[in-house]
Symmetry: C2
Subunit: 331 residues, 2 copies
């Protein structure tokens, strides 16, 4: 278990580079001053960056290095999924303590590279800096999309359906369980919600399938929480939204987790959380006319009232949607 201090920066970088596959379209790899990449002719680039800070975005020592790496990949892949883009290349910038186990760092990058590789992407460069305080890992992900085919947040129209992938709320439940009861959260009936936070599903393929099917008018990933990100999409599109409380698929794991945590399913589902799921605006005529994607649940409809978000309950009543997303500096 040599530390980074034992090996030195350049030897660590050499080991990291040797342990990962070189993705397609790479002309010059990370061993030079910069990487040289060849995109497919005629494609636009789609770029995003997201970072995890120890203690803030992940409780120290709860995640195995490879799982943390995969999760960072997923956070960035989710942004490209929300643009209907194909992931290609990534750069990993890290701040790690000198006593960090070099083998653990190789495992972290291997987990990250494997998660990228499953979606056709890979690491082509990075930076390794020493820190004394909390460690951090910042990924930049580059993808491609056909010109004019990227989804944005601004295309939703009144009457469009609101679709969502997965079962939002699980990640928030999983993280709370990990924080409150630690290892006990691996008891069998709670594994799905803990895994939803720890090892989220990737929605890139669902997004690319949906983009082929057509009918999506806008998209956002709900990595800050369903209500907060729905509000952002509504703001960008100049519309409102009405959510149907009865339209959500039953989720026994989420209900059990809510019971265990002493909170409502709604608080988990609509409040702050980092589900890497997609929220979509779908043209209702196109959606009903064609092969509907099985991974998408229709949970409401966009309305003409800008910024007004409501929820219609089983008894026919309508009230304001519980609001709020995650703010890294808020209380």
């Amino acid at each position: 278990m040599p530390s980074l201090r034992d090996l030195g920066e350049f030897e660590v970088l050499r080991r990291l580079a040797a342990a990962r596959p070189t993705p397609a379209g790479t002309r010059v790899d990370a061993g030079d001053d910069a990487a040289v990449l060849r995109a497919q002719p005629g494609r636009d680039l789609v770029v995003t960056t997201d970072a995890f800070v120890e203690g803030r975005h992940y409780p120290a020592a709860v995640l195995a290095p490879a799982v943390l790496g995969a999760r960072l990949a997923l956070a960035n892949l989710s942004d490209l999924a929300a643009m209907a883009a194909s992931p290609r290349w990534a750069l990993l910038s890290m701040g790690v303590r000198p006593e960090h186990d070099a083998d653990d760092l190789v495992r972290l990058e291997a987990g990250l590279a494997a998660a990228l590789s499953a979606e056709g992407a890979g690491i082509v460069g990075g930076n390794l800096a020493g820190v004394e305080g909390p460690e951090w890992f910042s990924l930049t992900l580059i993808g491609e999309v056909e010109p004019g085919r990227a989804w944005t947040r601004s295309g939703a129209r009144p009457g469009d359906l609101i679709g969502v992938t997965g079962s939002p709320g699980r990640a928030a439940a999983g993280l709370r369980l990990l924080r409150q009861i630690g290892d006990a959260s691996t008891v069998e009936d709670l594994v799905p919600v803990v895994d939803a936070w720890r090892s989220p599903a990737c929605r890139v393929r669902a997004a690319l399938d949906l983009a082929r099917i057509g009918g999506a008018t806008a998209a956002i990933d709900i990595s800050d929480g369903f209500s907060g990100d729905l509000a952002r999409l509504c703001e960008a599109s100049g519309v409102g939204a009405q959510i149907d409380a009865t339209a959500w698929p039953p989720d026994a794991s989420l209900e059990r987790a809510a019971g265990r945590l002493g909170v409502s399913v709604e608080e988990l589902r609509f409040g702050p959380g980092d589900d890497y799921e997609l929220l979509l605006a779908l043209d209702p005529a196109e959606w009903s006319a064609q092969a509907q994607h099985p991974g998408v649940t229709i949970v409401g409809r966009f309305t003409e009232a800008p910024g007004v978000l409501t929820i219609r309950t089983a008894d026919g009543g309508e009230r304001a949607l519980p609001a709020g997303g995650f703010d890294h500096f808020g209380g």
Copy 2:
């Protein structure tokens, strides 16, 4: 002077985005899940990432925010210069304390954006995370180059000339002066070396000019120190190098700084330091036959002895080149 905690993450991101120009070729800006960019047809991409950590890469409170931002831009621009690439787009990932002044953060990003803009590039996205320990700023820079025209580290041949831009050693002297005597380092006769560290010159245009002229067979930036980076280029190319001690241009500022610090000019020139200058391998026939670039000094020649780096002194003697570059985890 509102803090990030006062304003919240999304308002800070909004202010940052509003304060910066949108670079050419941007189809969808940072307000969405990802940015959409259009490269020039037929160009390869060149990508790099470099980060500054408070206390490690810059002494806290020595640099004004705009100067720190510009310096981070320069560190990344230098990597693209070493590939003869044209900078286009950047993403800034940051870890900042909640009590950080939001206006200072806007100033930092403005300084960064201005330095990029001077070279035809701009910021298209980023990420803002909260940290409790040292702050950090990680930039990813994307550029373009004609296919097959990027310089690498591996093309130097025995007999090629060794060229260098600027006057290596100044940055190391400047940082040491700032650390040892603080404000006194702004005394007039030392300003050039302090500025070489604080506000380095950008070599992107020199690189693009040289690429047009032709004759360069390899390049590297010497951001870890002349000897260390020369050794890396020699390793990648399978060659050695002989430096001519008498070939360097006189540098009165560097000599004054060395005297003040009680070290030799050679220690500053060849040792660890972060000059963002270019080290080039140049075909001797092409170099002598054509318009030579005025910003490049020929300081030696590559040899057939792999990994052997020597310096030839004024008295005709030859000895090993003082070695070593900066290691972020080394002693």
